[in-house]
Amino acid sequence: MAAVEVDGLTVRYGGVTAVDAVSFEAEAGQITALLGPNGAGKTSTVEVLEGFRRPAGGRTAVLGLEPRADHAALTRRVGVMLQSGGVGPGVRVLEALRHAAELYDDPFDPAALLERVGLTGTERRTWRQISGGERRRLALALALVGRPQLAFLDEPSSGVDPQGRLAIREVVSGLRDDGVTVLLTTHDLDEAEKLADHVVILDHGTVVAAGSPVALMTGAAVDEVRFAAPAGLDTAALAARLGVPVREVSAGEYLVAGAGTPTLVAALTAWLAEHDLPLGDLRAGRQRLEDVFLRLVADRTTTAEATPPTGRPGAPATTEPPAGRRTRASGRRRDPS
């Protein structure tokens, strides 16, 4: 049995459907990431699982229990890190964690947990006095202090500096080693790719793809080779040599519309060598999660932005591949956040 089961979940706010018939599972002992841009429905989904929100439809089970009806029983087994806040400004770091520890039967030692999240030295400082990154780390410690079987982490590292992000990721990875099931939300592709065993990509309230990061990246393989080289190459000559179209999608970034076979790659590198050109970057076949994500998610948002008078954010998807290339050709690689 999966630790979290979501089947046909729908959440509405007034007339707006934030989550539309979403289904996925989070396997016990694994890290599952809900990935998507802001407004994709990630937090609404998690808030239903935390028992805060009553869904308009669908079925959810958390550790085999019903999030609202069995809320009291679940609070002992589930740790929750909210997207923001959660502690009063005048509360000290260690004081907050000690208080939380006293609410559980068999908590972690607060001081040891503070060390694990890298907050040693801030014990006496208040929530008001610590940085945004330190607040996220304290929120993580508060979610974990009760030794949960399952942790819901809503944007665990958003707004955190790179160092703090690393610390948070290490703790989250460590949870898997301890057998804790993690369901996290993120709009950080890198985080999902590095941390998650299973990724569920949400956009406009629906699941657009799901699978392990590797499967998503491999499964989305397309017949194209991307490489970076000095800007302004003679793409016509290169295309003639390779026998497939070549475009400069943005200055110095090229797209070869052919399967990334060793023969094609050899021909490409040979041509570059003949012209004494440096090769900056070369990708064939498998794509980075970011490419998958942009193809699935960014197309419609970018299209909508580019044509303000008629484009609406919820417009029907126009996710044919050329649209994706145009996105990149415009040079406006959209930050999914």
């Binding site: 935390e50 589930v78 929750v80 208080h99 006293e102 609410l103």
Partner: protein
């Protein structure tokens, strides 16, 4: 029990650290008591302290159980504190229990300080056991109303509303200004307010030769039921 005590401890630690709330709960009643006991401007026959001391005790309860509780709870909701606590095994009954106990602890401290000061100023109370009933009913009524504000308004709106209410109730409840001085319609309104009824009950149970009108007990009891009932209906946790 341990979670409840842990939360009570945190509530009290934060109250003690919060200068504004101490000013409101102790500073203002102390100042009013000292000022009006020494500056004879109030239209009172006889010893001002005999009239003032019970009124200031009622005021102290108003400031702690209504104003302070409303403001601190509203900000806890705004900061997501209540939401996070909702994900822990603390639970609502123990959260409310800890808050109630914290209010009672603060009120007991207030009563001891103000009572001692009043004695030093020449107050000669003759307390009846029914004072405890007035104390409990008043606290429950004010706490219920405070949680109504905190549960339905934004934090800053609650801050303004609670402070405004404090001033209005202070003036209209016979705490320091005798009700007889107010215009008749206002006086009728005042007797129907929880603060007016509480002041009558506190004064009647602490002053020799006075009794509490049955109407005051009825009004106070009605508010002590209506406040918490309304609060549970209006209160939102996030």
């Amino acid at each position: 029990m341990r979670p409840l005590l842990a939360h009570l401890r945190l509530e009290l630690a934060l109250l003690a650290r919060n200068g504004e709330s101490l000013l409101l709960t102790l500073g203002v009643p102390l100042l009013l008591l000292l000022f009006f006991a020494n500056v004879d401007v109030l239209p009172i026959d006889g010893e001002p302290i005999a009239f003032l001391a019970p009124g200031v005790l009622a005021l102290a309860m108003l400031s702690t159980a209504l104003v302070n509780l409303a403001i601190s709870t509203a900000f806890e909701r705004e900061y997501g504190v209540l939401k996070r606590l909702g994900t822990t095994p603390l639970g609502r009954p123990r959260l409310l229990g800890a808050k109630t106990l914290a209010v009672l602890v603060v009120e007991v401290v207030q009563l001891m300080v103000l009572w001692s000061l009043a004695l030093a100023l020449g107050w000669e109370p003759s307390p009846e056991p029914a004072f405890l009933a007035a104390f409990v009913l008043g606290t429950v009524a004010f706490a219920g109303l405070g949680l109504c504000l905190a549960g339905s308004l934004k934090a800053l709106t609650t801050l303004a509303a609670a402070n405004g209410l404090y001033l209005v109730l202070l003036l209209l409840s016979g705490m320091v200004i005798p009700l007889d001085e107010l215009p008749a319609p206002v006086r009728t309104l005042a007797r129907l307010l929880p603060s007016g009824a509480l002041t009558e009950a506190v004064r009647g149970t602490l002053t020799a030769g006075t009794s509490v009108p049955g109407r005051a007990w009825a009004v106070l009891t009605a508010w002590a039921v209506a406040g918490p009932v309304l609060a549970t209906r209006l209160f939102r946790w996030e």
